[in-house]
């Protein structure tokens, strides 16, 4: 699949708003090695967003959308929260689910897509906040993993319920005081990456979104493993600068501080044996493809 399916009818082209014309002209649908480096030189799959200025969720969204291996055949499932304010501006098919139901919806969707389009690769990617993933939706999250549903779950972990003003979440740090949780959290941050591993996820990563190249790598891996093997889980720190009292410019530093080796978002990865094998095969193919392209280019210039 490529851009061929995404063409505006010639006789109505001039009335289409410019963002659609741009998507057709210069978005990276169908580009084999699309990635974060396309940002700035192509039309992004996110038009605008209504998050707070400087919210790291907006960076995360941009990197993720630039890195999806197959955006034209991907359906994202969102849930209520700050993330849901962005989906209306995203040029990838997406479904808004009732708060917490995202992994149940994605399970049905993935199965339905494989029945409806048996010969075509269709990726399903859930993207929800920590409240949706770990608290209200925990049942659905875990059950989808137990059942080995073949889709990726991404949690934007901002360690509280941001969209409703700062209530306590399972992923909040122990002792943290938020605007609407004045007593301070009495329990430890839920260890969802470990729970994901034990629940059957084949690829699990816990990290921040400070480095676009890293986000690109883990997104691609997670989607490929989910496509071929089974559930994958990414927990990405996207601090709510509003709730932790930082200004717009401080989100990046907050992430850098929190990913130091002893901190709670130090890079952590778990890959199952079948997933390791698949990723090695994909890496080998990628290397071959790049070498062939290089050879072709040098022949052309000779």
């Amino acid at each position: 699949m490529s851009k061929e399916r995404i063409q505006i009818s010639e006789d109505l082209y001039d009335i289409m708003p410019s963002d659609y014309q741009d998507l057709v002209k210069s978005a990276t649908y169908g580009k084999e090695d699309r990635g974060w480096k396309d940002i700035g030189s192509s039309k992004e799959l996110i038009e605008q967003h209504s998050l707070c200025a400087g919210c790291p969720e907006s960076m995360a969204f941009r990197y993720i959308l630039a890195s999806l291996p197959n955006p034209e055949d991907t359906v994202m499932v969102g849930s209520t929260g700050c993330t849901s304010l962005v989906f209306p501006m995203v040029a990838v098919h997406n479904i808004h689910s009732l708060f917490g139901n995202q992994n149940a919806i994605a399970s049905g969707l993935k199965r339905a897509l494989s029945v409806r389009f048996p010969g075509r690769v269709k990726d399903v990617v859930v993207l929800a906040g920590d409240g949706a993933t770990v608290d209200i939706g925990l049942d659905m999250t875990l059950q989808a993993w137990f059942r080995q549903e073949k889709f990726t779950t991404i949690c934007f972990d901002n360690e509280l319920y941001a969209n409703t003003g700062g209530q306590e979440s399972g992923l909040m740090q122990k002792g943290f005081v938020a605007k609407m949780a004045p007593v301070g959290k009495l329990f430890d941050k839920v260890r969802l990456p470990e729970i994901a591993r034990e629940s059957g996820c084949h690829y699990v990563v816990n990290c921040t979104v400070s480095k676009p190249s890293l986000v690109e790598k883990v997104i691609r891996n997670a989607v490929h493993v989910a496509r071929e093997i089974g559930p994958t889980y990414l927990q990405l720190y996207t601090p709510c600068i509003l709730e932790i009292g930082k200004n717009s410019m401080e989100g990046l530093q907050e992430m850098r501080d929190s990913e130091k080796p002893t901190e709670r978002f130090a890079y952590k990865e778990y890959v199952s044996e079948p997933a390791k094998q698949l990723l090695a095969e994909l890496a080998a193919k990628d290397k071959e493809r790049k070498a062939a392209a290089k050879q072709l280019a040098s022949q052309a210039s000779a």
Binding site: R5, I6, Q7, I8, S9, E10, D11, L12, I15, M16, P17, Y20, E47, Q48, S50, F87, P88, M89, V90
Partner: protein
Amino acid sequence: MSEYRVLPGPEHFLPPAAASMGIQLPNPGEAHINGVIASEEKAYEEAARQFLMAKVPTIFPGPLVLWAWNEKAAKKATAIRHLYNTLKDCVQPGQKAMLIPMPDYRPKYPKINPEVEINPNHPNLTIWHNKIDCCMFVGVHCHQANLSLKIIRGGTSCYTIAMCAQAGHEDAMLSFRDASVEKIMRLADTIKRLKGTVQPRLETAKNGASS
């Protein structure tokens, strides 16, 4: 038969779905006007009359024709352009024909630009902004069209026409079914034929009659 009639609003905040009021869809070869089954013949005349009477007659093409999914979609787009050009030629000074796309169905809060697009989740914004008093949906998927037509009936006084490719829309004030290039062209021909015979609402208002 139901007593309910599908008429220009504003009906109220949440108008009932016309189907729930007993309005039925036309059989092949038929249309409906205000929820009453009518011949297609009569529907062409009435749709053309409504367009020619309106101050801002507008066509809203949806994703099924805006995007060239297949050859048929592209051909329908050409026919729609022709319909718009005909309408533009046939209206009188003071009337303004418009062609505004509904590129997709995402509820684009708060970014919708009502000058250049219509969104099915808040179609009233585009209708109010451009003072549209008669519109035609074409190439909009059934569920989005029904939602949108209901919102328009609820909050505006705009007359709605559906050029539906399936079984018709009971929530529009006038609906064709099985839309095709030929049907769109035939509507254009009817508009051309009735040109000059229909008094625009503009004039009536100027004459002191109620609009």
